[in-house]
Amino acid sequence: MADSSSNFQARDRLTFLISLVPFLIERGRVSVAETARHFEVTEDQVRQSVSLLTVSGIPGVTATYQPDDLFDIAWDDFEQNDEIVLTNLIAINDSPRFSSREAAALIAGLQYLSSLPERSDQDLISALLVKLGKATFGTPSQLAVAEAPTNRAISLFREAVSNGYQVEFDYLNAKGEKERRRVDPLRVESLENDWYLRAWCHLREALRTFRMDRISNVTITDSPLEHHSSEVTMPESLFEGSADDIEIKIELPISATGLIAEYLTSDVVPVGDTGLGQVGLRVSHLHGLKRLVCSRPGLIKVLSPQEAVEMVHEWASEAIGQYSQS
């Protein structure tokens, strides 16, 4: 949200205004910078909203918006020190309730987080759900996310980091090679149903992303951590490209490109009016590609390189061959 000011629509700006006022009341005196940091908006957005506040209010007895009917601030503090102090309050005294949609999104989010160790304190969660119900105008809409069992490995990573030790685990990569890895866990990240660990890998001496479901036999070591998430700049994307990546060209129905959006590296070029499109894709090795292609059977057709086409062919052919033998 911090950077996407274009994404910040009128309803967001309105919500920000009605949220900013109670925050300013609560703080009494607060800097523009601190306010921006707290709400994860830009300082300009804060200044604009404060300026808007000072011309906002109620029609008042004269129905003409007299100065007493408007919000006011300590102007010297604002203009000289970039600090906000409200000196005249209008109508709003406290934080607004959540809408039924907002509450539903939060509840569904909490349900999604069920595999985190933080989530395992059931009393905390039940209390939070009751509070959200009371904090909402109307009834949260019927939205539910099935809970997943708490991920044991994440608990161990968390424990290791809070005690300051490295962890070790067996990791099976997509090529089918199993290795014992020793890492400094930095971040747990998820995308839909898949969970990943981003960590400093002492074997590779580099940042690595591990799929949780390929990790087994986790143990906490007695070697102290060498890297902390606060000191390491992590690339935004989970699947960071490297120089060894292989460029693949594929063809697929244009309507299906959303299914694999995170892998695509170029714009889709339509093939006449067939509804098909050609697009580039980057993979770290062909073992991952053949799995991807087979998970969307009939959709993805690999065009090049020829080596990739052959590998996909072999993978499917070997698989189907088993059925004629058994």
């Binding site: 949200m1 309803r11 967001d12 919500t15 006022v21 109670p22 925050f23 808007l52 906002s56 109620i58 109508a91 406290d94 934080s95 309730r97 939060l106 569904a108 989010g109 999604y112 987080l113 985190l116 933080e118 209390a127 939070l128 904090a135 105008f137 809409s141 019927q142 939205l143 539910a144 099935a146 994440i154 990573f157 968390r158 980091v161 099976l172 089918g176 930095l186 971040r187 747990v188 990240e189 998820s190 995308l191 839909e192 149903n193 949780m212 479901d213 390929r214 959303g258 087979c294 059977p297 009939g298 690999v302 052959e310 062919h313 993978w315 499917a316 070997e318 698989a319 189907i320 088993q322």
Partner: protein, 340 residues
């Protein structure tokens, strides 16, 4: 204020903010004509003698908009004046607008809510999450620094999600074409949406057939048409539909079992065994639960020769058919021109 009058182009949020302030500040409510003639954003366009119908329509939309944002805008008719449209009054009761005083969040709760809002930061639900976060930050609670960084993320990609949720909120009868695997054509459905449920990572619609009243579950991914909603409203059954729908999906999942032979030491073995409910049988096979046979078939096809489906036979056939399709698109030796 004359300088206000001069500028008749007031941004939406400024008009809505002024409306909220005016309605919060009034104890006895304001009539529509009082609002249109005095509240900033409307008064600039108000004509005391002329036609204000465009402005009235705008006020209608604005009312809906701020209600959707969780502002309890209330309409009432003063005693003795019932039935007179002109006397309808509008107000926002502070006690219903404000978060109750006893609802405050601890640092620990705040951290969890913050994460919960981050889950949906892309795709559908992102707007709601963003606004929920702003409101909740208005309380000024600082978030506890996590021991381990978490970046949870789930993206609702199905285009039918938004219109279905809208219909769900308004109890609107909804129509769409649904493609059931194994059938050659999609069929037209007319249902009352009851809940949207994510189960095993996929969004489902739990709904009631508008004619037979029968409950049905649809996978959003298989809705192949636009969602059409009319104005027909049906009162939903009085039950926790999300919970009932979830239990039905769970029952299907409990019932559906597949037995898979996996090559030891492979990706398939490691990952399939980590699936919820997966079990290694005495004969070495892995037993899996599933909701949708066709989706499991997609997933198993990806493992190629690492897996061999033993049962059910329908799953076996579906995996074979998928592999055959991949082969058809990837012929070797004949080059790239063939296949599709």
């Amino acid at each position: 204020m004359s300088d206000r009058k001069a500028n008749s182009r007031v941004p939406v949020e400024e008009r809505l903010f002024s409306l909220i302030l005016a309605l919060l500040a009034t104890r006895n409510g304001l009539t529509k004509s009082e609002i249109l003639s005095t509240v900033h954003g409307y008064s600039q366009k108000y004509s005391p003698s002329g036609d204000n119908s465009a402005l009235e329509r705008q006020f209608q939309r604005d009312k809906d908009d701020i209600r959707e944002l969780g502002v309890p805008l209330e309409t009432f008719e003063p005693l003795g004046e019932e039935g007179n449209n002109q006397s309808t009054r509008y107000r926002i009761l502070p006690a219903e607008y404000e978060l109750p005083r006893d609802i405050r969040f601890s640092r620990q709760e705040a951290s969890l809510l913050n994460l919960a809002a981050l889950v949906w930061r892309e795709g559908a639900l992102s707007g709601e999450s963003r606004r929920a976060l702003l409101k909740f930050k208005s309380l000024g609670v600082e978030i506890a620094d996590p021991v381990l960084d978490y970046i949870p993320r789930s993206i609702v990609r199905e285009p039918s999600f938004e219109p279905l949720r809208e219909a769900l909120e308004k109890n609107l009868v909804t129509e769409f074409d649904y493609f059931k695997p194994g059938e050659t054509e999609s069929t037209h459905r007319q249902v009352l949406p009851l809940a949207l449920i994510q189960f095993q990572g996929r969004w489902h619609l739990y709904a009631m057939d508008a004619n037979s009243q029968e409950r049905k579950t649809f996978l959003l991914r298989r809705i192949v048409s636009e969602i059409a909603t009319g104005s027909k409203v049906i009162a939903p059954p009085r039950e926790d539909s999300a919970d009932v729908g979830l239990k039905e999906l769970q029952a299907v999942w409990d019932r559906n079992l597949a037995q898979i032979r996996v090559q030891p030491g492979t990706d398939a073995e490691v990952r399939l065994l980590q699936q919820q409910g997966a079990k290694r049988l005495d004969n070495g096979l892995i037993e899996l639960h599933f909701v949708d046979l066709h989706i499991l078939a997609d997933e198993l096809a990806a493992y190629g020769p690492e897996v061999l489906v033993e049962s059910p036979s329908e799953l076996r056939e579906q995996v074979k058919a998928r592999l055959a399709e991949v082969l058809k698109l990837h012929p070797v030796s004949t080059g790239q021109a063939n296949g599709r």
